[in-house]
């Protein structure tokens, strides 16, 4: 099944009990298939909020697997039904409009509110030829409206696939600035670099100079590229008294390949959650997904 087919099946199942809403969806899909102009298309994406409930999509494990098969990295775990329905309309229009779709999508972006923007950004990875919208996707990472930023940056394979190095590094560091969950940036572990590690360490120094705590996800940016400077910085975090930061630094030590050092530390570690993070890391649980356990939102 394509991502488009997946979405349609999931939405139909969830709206089955509501005739008014199901009918609205079916009629609008038919209207789009028959051909609509750019203004009408944007209007329909907008109008969906007046019909489709904003309930969680709450995909089942089987549906999440379908998503991953349809497109590696596509994770609708946190989508809501309205976003899903809007993305379906966008994919419908992409299929119907052919070459005219690009202009239609640009128009929809131009007049979108936040809810529409979230759906538009979530659709990009699923669009055939979606790479042509990389400029727009980067615009999404320039916003300070956190939910909009997350719609392109998190649980979305688009940036990993289509962002150049500058945009990719900016996305990752900005996620930390605006407190969006970096561990949910798909492909992060595969696109770490010495330069990203340096940016992260500069930020660590800046935070410490200002007398502020270091955001624990900054340690996620080092990977194996932190060098001596990174190790020194991690040791300082581990010697501190912030539990979240120490747990993250323990994972980061393992990510840097310093297992002997971690082995030595775990023997004297008195704080149980830090010790647990160290043991987990020593068992190899230190990829970006391991930072999920440190996310206060989870």
């Amino acid at each position: 099944m394509t991502a488009h087919d997946c979405l349609s099946a999931w939405i139909a199942a969830r709206l089955a009990g509501d005739e008014r809403v199901s009918t609205w969806r079916e009629e609008r899909r038919a209207e789009i298939a028959a051909g609509v102009d750019d203004t009408r298309f944007a209007g329909l994406v907008s109008l969906a909020s007046r019909f489709i409930p904003r309930a969680a999509l709450a995909p089942t494990d089987a549906e999440l697997e379908e998503a991953e098969v349809a497109l590696a990295g596509w994770n609708p775990e946190r989508w809501d039904l309205l976003e899903a329905a809007r993305v379906e309309l966008i994919l419908d229009h992409a299929r119907a409009a052919g070459a005219g779709f690009e202009a239609a999508l640009e128009g929809a972006f131009r007049y979108a509110d936040d809810g529409e923007l979230r759906a538009l950004y979530k659709s990009l990875a699923l669009l055939p030829g979606g790479e042509q919208f990389a400029w727009q996707a980067k615009e999404g990472c320039r916003t300070n409206i956190v939910p909009v930023f997350e719609s392109i940056a998190c649980d979305n394979p688009y940036p990993f696939r289509h962002f150049d190095d500058v945009a990719w590094k900016q996305l990752c560091i900005k996620a930390i600035f605006i407190d969006a969950p970096l561990w949910r940036v798909w492909g992060l572990d595969r696109r770490l670099s010495p330069d990203m590690a340096r940016m992260a360490l500069d930020l660590v120094d800046e935070r410490r100079s200002a007398g502020r705590d270091v955001q624990h996800e900054l340690w996620l940016c080092l990977g194996e590229h932190g060098g001596e400077r990174g190790l020194e910085s991690l040791e300082r975090e581990l010697a501190g008294d912030r539990i979240l930061g120490r747990r993250a630094a323990a994972l980061a030590l393992a990510r840097a390949g310093r297992t002997e050092r971690l082995q030595a530390l775990v023997e004297t570690e008195g704080e149980p959650t830090v010790a647990q993070a160290m043991r987990d890391a020593l068992e190899g649980h230190h990829d970006q997904g391991a930072f999920r356990a440190l996310d206060p939102r989870n």
Binding site: T39, A42, G43, S46, L47, S49, R50, R110, Y111, D113, D114, G115, E116, L117, N144, I145, V146, P147, K174, F177, I178, D179, A210, R212, P296, R297
Partner: protein
């Protein structure tokens, strides 16, 4: 005040207010606001300025307010002053339907008369027609000069177009216009400005005289000298001077809620639930908060 109250300020231009105002408003119990589209103190020269302004009302400003636990609603419209630039006004009216149905848009507004010119009337009528066709609430700004005549005419024209009176909010009323508005069946809103127009004391007298039905208090705070806390301050004065609590609740919360909830764009249940601000979810260096510790689980005062 003995019991903490919650307030709805249904007319305030947050785009020109600071985060200090948002903090003070939230602390004073203001849960929800309506920001109607207006002019910016000087005329815009291109359609793009309107597009970006409307986009900020349904976008950035809504997000900014959410970070302080304030529900931001808005009204979309072409104001009377800028209706006089007819070629630009035409472009604005073309783009207006794109924003009228966004989430959180509770009305067409603020529209109406400024100098009571023919161009203003054309834009006003067009927007009234649009509101009637789409079953929307209308927020009418009444002119500062020639107010009484302006209000009577605003109501007549709205009635002629077929806008139901329960969907019509006439703002900036005074002692001289309140009877015209109430007798027509419309909602009568009063703007409490420090020093000018309406003051809190006059509002107390008005509520004592006319009762609380269909009367709404707002601040209309903007880029001029104005008070973002007008609504809670007026409520306090009313209570001190013996207006009963139920009436105070009506004019500073319930009536505005009833008027604008007709849009279907207010999640009344969420608004009634005691909001808890968790800025750690939303704040950060690059959004609005800069360096201060986020307030976590700070309960609203009401």
């Amino acid at each position: 005040m003995d019991a903490p109250m919650r307030f709805f300020d249904p007319h305030i231009h947050m785009t020109s207010r600071t985060t200090d105002d948002y903090e003070a408003m939230a602390a004073a119990g203001i849960r929800a606001i309506v920001e109607p589209a207006f002019w910016l103190g000087q005329p815009r020269t291109t359609i793009g300025s309107f597009v970006d302004y409307y986009a900020s009302l349904v976008g950035w400003e809504r997000f900014r307010a959410s970070q302080f636990g304030v529900a931001h609603l808005c009204a979309i419209g072409l104001n009377s002053k800028e209706a006089n630039n007819e070629s630009l006004a035409k472009e604005v009216l073309e783009v207006l339907p794109r924003y009228a149905f966004k989430e959180g848009v509770v009305a067409i507004g603020e529209i109406g008369y400024d100098e009571i010119t023919a161009a203003e009337e054309r834009a006003y009528e067009w927007q009234l027609e649009f509101a009637r066709e789409n079953d929307m609430v209308v927020m009418v700004h009444s002119p500062h000069r020639d107010k009484k005549r302006g209000i009577i005419r605003s109501i007549e024209v709205a009635a002629n177009v077929g806008v139901p009176m329960e969907k019509l909010v006439i703002d900036h009323n005074t002692e001289e216009t309140v009877e015209d508005t109430l007798n027509a069946g419309a909602w009568a809103a009063f703007t409490i400005y420090p020093n000018t127009k309406m003051g809190s004391q006059r509002m107390v007298e008005l509520v004592k005289k006319y009762g609380p039905e269909r009367i709404i208090v707002d601040s209309s705070a903007d880029w001029g000298v104005s008070d973002a806390l007008s609504v809670p301050r007026t409520a306090k004065l009313m209570l001190e001077q013996g207006v009963d609590a139920e009436a105070v609740t009506k004019v500073t919360w319930q009536n505005a809620l009833d008027a604008y909830a007709q849009s279907g764009q207010i999640d009344v249940e969420a608004l009634l639930a005691k909001p808890v601000i968790d800025q750690s979810k939303l704040f950060s260096d690059n959004s609005v908060l800069r360096g201060q510790e986020p307030r976590v689980d700070a309960a609203m005062p009401n």
